[in-house]
């Protein structure tokens, strides 16, 4: 669902047409949940965040937003990052963006993609997921995570290269 369609649906929802809500949910649930769970690494907590976002969307759909898709994904990302910060084991982390779930993985072993994603820092993971799964533009991602455009592009390419190496099981 692109921005134009999403804006139309949200306008209809705001005008009282509740039937469009399920359509919005069905279109966005998968990319949003993918991004949230990759950040949270916890299915139950990720589902809670997904629920929270859609309840907010239903009760007060965003008004006058040119880019509702980026707005919604930003909300998902921010809540997921807050969720990570609230977890006791990460409470003392100074910079949660640099968190790596599987820091000492052996790259000679061929990995599945979800394990490979855990070897990225949380920031790289967000950039890759927001761009590939969330289909957001680099400029939108740069604004969401408050980094320069060039840095986002560079980190994206670096992360994809790293994932490629892991998925190839050390053959590259």
């Amino acid at each position: 669902m692109n921005n134009v369609e999403l804006r139309q649906k949200l306008t209809a929802l705001q005008a009282g047409d509740k039937s469009v809500f399920e359509e919005i949910y069905n279109q966005l649930k998968t990319p949003m949940f993918t991004i949230i769970q990759r950040i949270m690494q916890d299915k139950m907590l990720s589902e809670d965040i997904l629920q929270e976002i859609f309840v907010k969307l239903y009760l007060s759909p965003p008004e006058n937003t040119n880019n509702p898709r980026a707005y919604i994904f930003q909300m998902a990302r921010n809540l997921a990052i807050d969720g990570v910060r609230k977890q006791p084991q990460f409470a003392n982390l100074d910079d949660v963006e640099n968190l790596v779930y599987l820091p000492d993985e052996d790259i000679t072993e061929r990995m599945d993609i979800e394990r490979a994603m855990k070897t990225l820092s949380l920031q790289e993971c967000q950039i890759v997921s927001l761009h590939i799964n969330g289909e957001l533009k680099f400029r939108e991602i740069a604004e969401i995570i408050n980094l320069p455009l060039g840095t986002v592009i560079w980190k994206y390419h670096k992360a994809v290269k790293h994932l490629r190496s892991l998925l190839s099981g050390g053959a590259i």
Binding site: Q51, R110, I113, F138, H157, G169
Partner: protein
């Protein structure tokens, strides 16, 4: 192994002879890397970037240079024209992404022009300036060439042990600055405040430039001739590297085993496209009852 060594030896001989040949050649103009003043001037590139994966947001994989609009004026090389006459305030970059000769013998050059606030009038103004042999694809930008150049010059002049290098991407509005380890965050903040978000800080400028596919403007003091004879040598080594990679890919790679010796899987190289496709397809879905829970919460909120 013997074959590889032999192959590398042949490559060395070829490259050395080409170097010797090139050193006797007169310097031809038009392809400077960087002037000794540090002022950025474009480096030629002949590889068309047809598929641009993530160079500038919103345009990745979504346009083809061949779809560019033909000019109606007389200027064949806008980058040189603007370098001589000054870049207009609404231009961020002009980049020749490739060229081809049509069946009727006409030579066509594909240009990417970075333009600020790209409205139709500005585009028409540029199309009226450039030759019909130019096919122009416009790219939406935020920062002008002058702003980028001013930042480049200032940062170039401030090079020290921490600020190691600076390069201006040719086909995007990014200016990369290589900063020593541990100082990235501090300098990123400083540069964003000072210049804007087009300045990107990295600790490996080569990797950053490779990632954006842009050809860099080396901040070092290289003379013009160096750039000329480096190309064929790079080409020879590139062919060598591709061949070695090919051998590596086709050789037997040990299978992976668990601790008790069971074979798990074989290592197989996959491409970048495959990697992106895997990420795209590896979606995670919430449980079916999540929507029901949302509607319950909505109902409660209404009551």
């Amino acid at each position: 192994m013997k074959k590889t060594v032999l192959f590398m030896a042949v490559l060395m001989c070829v490259s050395m002879s080409m170097t010797a040949y090139a050193q006797n050649e007169p310097i031809r103009g038009g392809v400077p890397s960087v002037e000794n003043t540090g002022r950025p001037t474009p480096v030629e590139d002949t590889d068309p970037i047809i598929e641009n994966d993530g160079l500038i947001d919103g345009q990745e994989n979504s346009y083809r240079l061949a779809d560019g609009e033909a000019g109606r004026g007389t200027i064949e090389t806008p980058d040189k024209y603007w370098a001589e006459n000054g870049y207009p305030d609404n231009i961020s970059f002009a980049y020749e992404a490739g060229s081809e000769t049509l069946e009727d013998g006409t030579s066509i050059a594909y240009w990417e022009i970075g333009i600020i606030n790209a409205d139709e009038a500005s585009k028409q103004e540029i199309l009226a300036l450039l030759s019909p042999n130019c096919r122009i694809t416009f790219r939406d930008c935020k920062y002008s060439y002058r702003e980028r150049e001013a930042a480049f010059n200032e940062i170039y002049a401030s090079r020290n042990d921490i600020v190691r290098n600076v390069q201006m991407a040719l086909n995007s509005e990014v200016v990369f600055v290589e900063i020593a380890d541990g100082y990235e965050k501090e300098y990123a903040r400083k540069y964003i405040e000072q210049y804007g978000s087009f300045v990107a800080v990295t600790n490996d400028i080569t990797a950053a430039m490779d990632a954006t596919e842009g050809l860099g403007l080396d901040g070092g003091d290289k003379n013009n001739a160096f750039g000329l004879w480096l190309w064929p040598i790079c080409l020879v080594f590139l062919i060598g590297a591709v061949t070695i990679v090919f051998f590596n890919r086709t050789r037997l790679i040990p299978t992976l085993q668990t601790n008790n010796g069971n074979i798990v899987t074989e290592s197989t190289p996959i491409s970048r496209k495959q990697t992106i496709s895997v990420i795209k397809n590896s979606v995670l879905t919430p449980s079916d009852d999540v929507f029901g829970s949302i509607m319950e919460k909505v109902d409660k909120a209404h009551k």
